[in-house]
């Protein structure tokens, strides 16, 4: 098989002392405003998750075959991903400036041609399955790399998520980490109203996963949770409790910010709120 050596070239040293979430949010607001596109609330709720992953957890540069993989299965938070990739040196700032412009590689969902994007996504329910294959591949190649898959809670509606969950536990893929962004929101209402799983942790436990509950807006806490491998031989799911639209007061828990672009006045208010305190 292709090489099993592990180059741990990591952005950790460059970023370990600086939390990324606030700057991810600022970039999300800035570029969604410039491009006049929505999906803002979802990118805001995963800012700490992406900050923790790219700031201090994920090993390997984008071209390293032995790198850790990250799959943003909730692809509609791509702008948050692009912001994290830019802030950690994986994506050029000039390219981020092209977001949603004609001819850009950066769209509302991540394209695999974008530097730092391991897999293109946009269709919910696909990512955990790919991640399961990536984790299986790492084990078959005797690589110590890990695979992180970021899902939305609404995405748990998709049956294929549970196909992958069953496989990963049965095959004891301890190098696989699923992170569920529990923001309680989905495209046409609250998850509790549309299609709820009363006990998400219990569901994953029943499938044989190691379940960890976490504050999805504690970037350092998430880093610690992600850094530690799960119970031996068990895939781990981190249930990250978050607030949809987090960081911008008028967006928090407001469904319309799944769809709406920012108007000028709203943009200034949002940027003001995201200034460092």
């Amino acid at each position: 098989m292709p090489g099993s050596s592990r180059d741990l070239g990591t952005p950790r040293a460059r970023t370990r002392d600086r939390l990324l979430a606030r700057r991810i949010r600022s970039l999300v607001i800035e570029h969604s405003y410039r491009a006049h596109v929505g999906h803002i609330g979802s990118s805001l709720s995963v800012a700490e998750i992406l900050g923790a992953l790219y700031g201090s957890v994920v090993h390997g540069q984008p071209t390293d075959p032995a790198r850790d993989r990250v799959i943003l299965s909730k692809g509609h938070a791509a702008l948050g991903l692009f912001a994290a990739l830019t802030l950690t040196g994986r994506l050029e700032p000039d390219e981020l400036d092209t977001f949603c412009r004609p001819g850009s590689r950066l769209g509302v969902h991540p394209d695999p041609g974008v530097p730092g994007v391991d897999f293109g996504t946009g269709s919910l329910g696909h990512g955990l399955s790919i991640g399961t294959g990536a984790a299986l591949a790492a084990r078959m190649q005797n690589r110590s790399s890990r695979v992180f898959v970021v899902l939305s809670d609404a995405e748990l509606n998709e049956g294929a998520v549970w196909e992958a969950a069953q496989f990963a536990a049965h095959h004891r893929l301890g190098n696989l980490v699923a992170i569920v962004d529990l923001n309680g929101q989905q495209a046409f209402g609250y998850t509790s109203e549309v299609l709820s799983i009363p006990d998400v942790g219990g569901a994953f436990t029943a499938f044989g996963w190691d379940v960890v509950q976490a504050d999805g807006h504690d970037e350092e806490g998430l880093s610690r949770v992600f850094d530690v491998e799960g119970a031996p031989g068990s895939p781990r799911v981190v249930l990250a409790k978050t607030v949809f639209g987090r960081g911008v007061s008028f967006m928090e828990r407001q469904l319309k910010w799944h769809y709406l672009p920012l108007e000028e006045e709203q943009y200034h208010v949002a940027m003001q709120e995201l200034q460092p305190s």
Binding site: P2, P65, F119, G122, L128, S129, T132, A137, A160, F167
Partner: protein, 309 residues
């Protein structure tokens, strides 16, 4: 073809360590030689075809060339969008294997009749779409599949005994495998129903109608230049396939004819509507029902030629 497929894959696995075999819990009494020879490279993912394809995508990205085995309908359609957004979009070497394409699962019913698989796969431009006509043509096509850089769909039949006379395992990329020359017309077939088509052409020759016969084993990339040459040399063309009209061999030939503005008459012998009849039976019965048996084809071809006179 199934035994030929597994035997070839065992040999390929010996030569190429990227080869792994995944199954959606199918292949009992067929895949065991691979499982026993390479247990660490064999994974039964369970009855979960979307996950089968998703896992294969992750494996292919890491450098493996996973063969994903299931019945043709399940392989080609249950996880279609996973295949589109995974292997096709990312241009990864996932090899989907659809067993029993056409009516080989006869009495199993409509859920097991793989008559839309080739067209569904032809919708995805990066995908190589191939279907051997018999067991002898299977090894070169499995090797061809493995030689492709991107994703592949391989339609297979179960029958290891029936042969297309004169084919003798011939396959060349970008060429149609001609097994018989005749000036009266051109008959082309794909998949295991080619044996029926070949027999019908022999039958026609006994009544004085000598046709050329060719097997089109690769629908994508299609042997377009060779097809154009053959079309130019014959007064009419007929296609035979266990597939619906849209997307398969007949569709391909119609596209080529239309694009060159040719007036060559075309007869598409295919499965007009797989849901039209409630009658079930074995493959031979269903071929007869849909006008794809050797005798039915001979009758249809003769009638077509007569209509042109």
């Amino acid at each position: 073809m199934r035994t030929a497929f597994v035997d070839t894959l065992v040999q390929l696995a010996k030569e190429d360590e990227r080869v792994v075999l995944l199954t959606g819990d199918l292949g009992f009494m067929a895949l065991e030689p691979f499982r026993d020879a390479y247990p660490s490279r064999f994974v039964n993912v369970g009855v979960a075809e979307q996950n089968l394809i998703g896992i294969a995508t992750g494996l292919a990205d890491a450098g493996f060339t996973p063969f994903c085995y299931s019945i043709a309908t399940f392989a080609s359609m249950r996880g279609f969008e996973f295949f589109r957004n995974g292997a096709a979009w990312h241009n990864l070497p996932v090899r989907l294997v659809g067993m029993g394409g056409g009516f080989e699962y006869g009495s199993a019913g409509v859920t097991h009749h793989g008559v839309e698989d080739l067209g569904a796969m032809r919708l995805l431009p990066p995908v190589t779409v191939i279907a051997p006509a018999d067991a002898e043509q299977t090894p070169p096509l499995v090797r061809y599949a493995q030689s492709r850089r991107g994703p592949v769909y391989l339609r297979l039949g179960k029958n290891d005994r029936r042969r297309v006379p004169g084919l003798e395992g011939a396959f060349e990329p970008d060429r149609i495998s001609i097994t018989r020359q005749g000036a009266s017309g051109l008959v082309l077939a794909t998949g295991s129903v080619a044996a029926e088509a070949a027999e019908s052409v022999e039958g026609l020759s006994l009544s004085g109608l000598s046709c050329s016969f060719g097997v089109v084993a690769s629908l994508a990339p299609a042997p377009v230049d060779h097809l154009r040459e053959l079309l130019a040399a014959h007064p009419w063309v007929a296609t035979v396939e266990a597939h619906v009209p849209a997307g398969g061999l007949g569709s391909l030939v119609a596209e080529v004819l239309a694009e060159q503005g040719a007036a060559t008459p075309l007869l598409r012998c295919c499965v007009d509507d797989p849901f039209a009849s409630e009658e079930l039976g074995d493959e031979a019965f269903l071929h007869e029902l849909h006008g794809l048996s050797a005798t039915a084809l001979e009758r249809r071809l003769a009638s077509f030629v007569e209509s042109l006179a």
